[in-house]
């Protein structure tokens, strides 16, 4: 059997932990920007039960980019899908608000395709620099299947 090797069991445990880690920190439910701005300590609860704290500075920055109605539509944290072995990432967006926010931050027009905005790694680093707590990585289930 494969488990007979001395290192094998340890490795299996490591890998199991690795897979458990991957998407455990995703939020149970995304929150609207307008709601988060009203909270004293803006946060979301993750699937593993931990809390993810948003920085008020970032929330205010996002609020400055869009109007009040759009604040009611922007769900946070924004999810960045990581595709296996590819240089591009996909930002999952449900409406035009995300598109507007991303294009303003990157200072370039972006077009969503099938509710996804494709960006490349240099753009990703700009985005993450500006939105550290308001974006999160999502390892797509397609990779795991």
């Amino acid at each position: 059997m494969i488990n007979e090797l001395p290192y094998e069991r340890l490795l299996q445990e490591c890998l199991r932990g690795e897979l458990r880690l991957l998407n455990a920190y995703l939020p149970r439910q995304q929150k609207l920007l307008s709601d988060l701005l009203r909270e004293e300590y803006p946060h979301v609860v993750c699937t593993d039960g931990s809390t993810h704290l948003f920085k008020r500075k970032e929330l205010k920055y996002l609020a400055s980019l869009i109007n009040d109605d759009e604040q009611e539509a922007l769900l946070l944290p924004m999810l960045i899908g990581v595709s296996s072995g590819q240089g591009e990432m996909a930002i999952i967006c449900r409406g035009e608000v995300e598109e507007k926010v991303i294009s303003k931050i990157l200072d370039m027009p972006v077009t969503p395709k099938q509710q996804r905005i494709m960006i490349y790694k240099p753009q990703l680093s700009i985005l993450r620099q500006m939105l550290k707590t308001t974006t999160q990585y999502l390892f797509s289930p397609k990779i795991i299947e």
Binding site: L11, C14, Y25, S50, T51, L53, L124, T133
Partner: protein, 209 residues
């Protein structure tokens, strides 16, 4: 030379091993993705740390300059009196965020009410205001620096751990599985050949009778 996995040479085991290999390759891809994300974030934070450190040093040198001018202007005793009056509690919102499975602390200095610094505005000069303003800036810079430095350490540790897993998969597990699959295939081919020659031999014997 990759280490062979100890298995019984059966077709069922071959199928199992193929499944394991498929899974191992998938996991390797995921872990590699995670490693690249962690490295990207690490480099980003490293750049920010350098910038934050420079800012911190600049802020402190400006603060000491302003403080020494204020001390010269007001005198040490008056300065100390005002400093005691301007003491206040700091509020820092501390929480955590997650980068590809790595929990990282976040700190945010809560904005105090501007303009209320506690010291007497009549007895103090603009030098004192400037000193207070600069010290607030320094506090903010310290909080930012604390967050960045701890993030850098945690990410570095996680990158090392992930790298070890990637290497183990790349150089140990996957080659081992591949070698075992190859060995089993060869074994089955050998058995086929033996079977064929046995049949031929039986045929010859039957013909001779």
């Amino acid at each position: 030379m990759p280490q062979l996995v100890k298995v019984r040479p059966t077709k069922i085991e071959l199928i199992k091993l193929r499944r394991r290999l498929f899974l191992a390759e998938r996991i390797q891809k995921i872990v590699k993705d995670r490693l690249s994300i962690l490295t990207l974030e690490f480099l980003q934070i490293a750049r920010e740390t350098v910038e934050a450190k420079r800012k911190l040093i600049n802020n402190f040198s400006e603060l000491y300059r302003a403080l020494s001018i204020a001390a010269g202007y007001h005198g040490y005793i008056a300065l100390e009196k005002e400093l005691i009056a301007s003491e206040r509690d700091l509020e820092i919102a501390a929480g955590s965020r997650n980068i590809a499975g790595t929990r990282i602390p976040t700190f945010e200095l809560k904005e105090a009410e501007r303009g209320i610094r506690g010291y007497n505005l009549v007895d103090t000069s603009s030098w004192f205001d400037q000193t207070a303003q600069l010290s607030e800036k320094c506090l903010e810079a310290i909080v930012v620096m604390a967050e960045l430095q701890s993030s850098l350490e945690l990410l570095g540790r996680e990158i090392n751990r992930t790298k070890r897993i990637v290497n183990a998969l790349e150089y140990l597990v996957i080659p081992g599985l591949q070698a075992t699959i190859k060995y089993l295939k060869m074994k089955f081919e050998e058995r086929d050949r033996e079977e064929k020659s046995r049949l031929k031999r039986v045929k010859v014997l039957l013909e001779q009778r």
